[in-house]
């Protein structure tokens, strides 16, 4: 079999962008776990929410990319705020199973509520940028992909700065590393937890909004992606942010390469098999059970 090198480069670029967007989702999941010790099963629906917010905001703002994206991020952040205040804040520290059942219930309500309101039909989303792109020789990448990847990188850089430089971020890491000690130095766990949830859902909304012009938008899109995000946080080590990012980028590349040459079924199965394999060899994930580590 001969492989066209151009085709390979093209696949690599697409995979990189996809991986960065996966990473946004996985990082949020990991952050919530690190701070609240809760797995947010409704995380995928926040992605879907972000994508739909983008879809419906675009015509309102005359197809302008930036304001629609901003609105989408704010809407999902508000959703995260409600999620915390209405539900998660009522749970105790050892209510792990209850937290799952509640977020599952919410996920189903959001998914089917959306399906009922806007129908399950996939939508193609158009922006001011259309499907234009840059071409270098025969390699082509659309603006929406390029911007999506850039936004993700910018988000990681800001997240890193936030976690290491600001009191708000340091409190988050302190709680994740040692809850008792953090409480003793007067950190308010409730505020920190709320911030973590809002931040995570905003990141997820950003991913959804950036994905909207790249992929088809449909209610079920969150479910497809969350499954991968779960595998990623497990492979990267629960609560380990750099681990989740590394695993996500690797997965994006891997999927893009496999998807270019094999049937889709292998692409889906690969993640799960990889996860089982990692767990057999290293039960704490590839990068260890580290707490929210920023570096």
């Amino acid at each position: 079999m001969t492989i066209d090198p151009l085709y390979l480069v093209q696949l690599t670029l697409n995979g990189l962008v996809l991986g960065l967007l996966y990473a946004l989702i996985a990082v949020g999941l990991s952050l919530i776990f690190g701070v609240l010790e809760i797995i947010n099963f409704a995380h995928g629906e926040f992605l879907m929410l972000g994508a739909y917010a983008m879809t419906f905001m675009l015509p309102v703002v005359g197809l302008l990319y930036a304001p629609a994206l901003l609105a989408a991020v704010l809407i999902t952040a508000l959703g995260g705020f409600l999620l915390f205040e209405l539900f998660l804040s009522r749970l105790g520290q050892h209510d792990f199973e209850r937290s799952i059942l509640i977020t599952i219930g919410l996920s189903i309500m959001l998914l089917h509520g959306t399906q009922y309101l806007v129908s399950a039909t996939p939508r193609l989303v158009d922006t001011e940028l259309g499907f234009d792109g840059v071409a270098i020789g025969d390699i082509r990448i659309t603006w929406t992909r390029l911007i999506g990847g850039g936004l993700a990188l910018a988000a990681f850089a800001s997240l890193y700065g936030l976690l290491t430089r600001t009191p708000f971020g340091r409190a988050m890491r302190a709680i994740a590393q040692n809850r008792e000690a953090a409480l003793m130095v007067g950190i308010k766990p409730r505020t920190v937890a709320r911030n973590a949830v809002v931040l995570s859902t905003a990141l997820c909304g950003l991913a959804g909004a950036a994905l909207a012009p790249i992929q088809l938008v449909q209610p079920i899109m969150g479910q497809f992606l969350i499954f991968k995000a779960f595998a990623l946080v497990i492979i990267g080590g629960l609560g380990n942010l750099p681990g989740a990012i590394a695993a996500a980028v690797a997965l994006g590349l891997f999927e893009s390469w496999i998807g270019g040459f094999f049937e889709i079924i292998w692409q889906e199965a690969a993640v799960f098999l990889l996860m089982i394999l990692v767990l057999l060899v290293r039960p704490n994930g590839l990068f260890g059970r580290a707490i929210v580590r920023a570096g």
Binding site: L101, I108, Q223, I234, P283
Partner: protein, 317 residues
Amino acid sequence: MRRFAGVGAAACAVGAAALLPTVTQSNYLIGIAVSACLFTVAAASLNLVYGYTGLLSFAQLAFWGIGGYCAALTVATFGGNFWQGLLLAAGLNGALALAVGYPALRLNRHAFVIVSLSFALLANLIARDWTELTRGPLGIPGLPAPTLFGFAFRGTATFYYLALTYAMLALGLLYAIASSQIGVTLRAIKQNEILAQSQGISGLGYKLLAFTVGAVLTAVAGGIFVFHLTIVDPLILDFYYMQTFLIMVIIGGAGSFWGVVVAGVLMSALPELLRFSADLRMVLYGAILVAAVLVMPDGVAGWLRRRRVERLRAALQ
């Protein structure tokens, strides 16, 4: 004494259930009763895994669906009969439970939940995408009625006896486990695994046992269910089923055998009463789940148990 009362009540219930087709001629009602039998087995299996052992396992959904596909494919593609299909469902899912359970149960419970969920989602994806085997989203329609020594379980009432017999066998086995020293040990592991380890009890072995028994019984129930529907398609792996089983366990009371059985039978009728749009029904189910978990985390049976403990404590003061 309570034991005998329970057995007596169970015998009456079985008697009443067996007489159902003589009371009503409605295929619609008897069809609900078929679902009630099979859903109750799945809920009671989940109760063994979650209620007794404390493992919140979404893999139950995968076992239910894979069981359905095993039974259907054996008849429609592999040239076997219904009973061989059930055997394949039991064997394959038992093996899968061991293969997935062994690595996943060694993890902390957080990771276990994620792995079990991913497994269920993967099963769903495979059912849709591996079209050569599963025929994709269209599924395999027209499954024939099972036959035994020339007798065909044709017609809803006849099929009902098949489902009822299986439900009795499966629930009997689950009851035998739950009421034996094994059931006590599973509850002990759920409550305090570290203490159990310090007493020489291997948590992993017992968890694998519960997980595997739950998988096999659920898979066979799924296998029978698709022959009741006469079609298998990826919808058999829809989250709707998992949610139904979960609600039955939570409302009935996780860790209470009879609570979950009663909830399973009663709540099987629920979807039939709520015959509006499928999406709205799911929204309502989600709301019930959230509300139940927030308001009544241990279900009706747990609420009754707590009242008993309160009384004892008061008597002791």
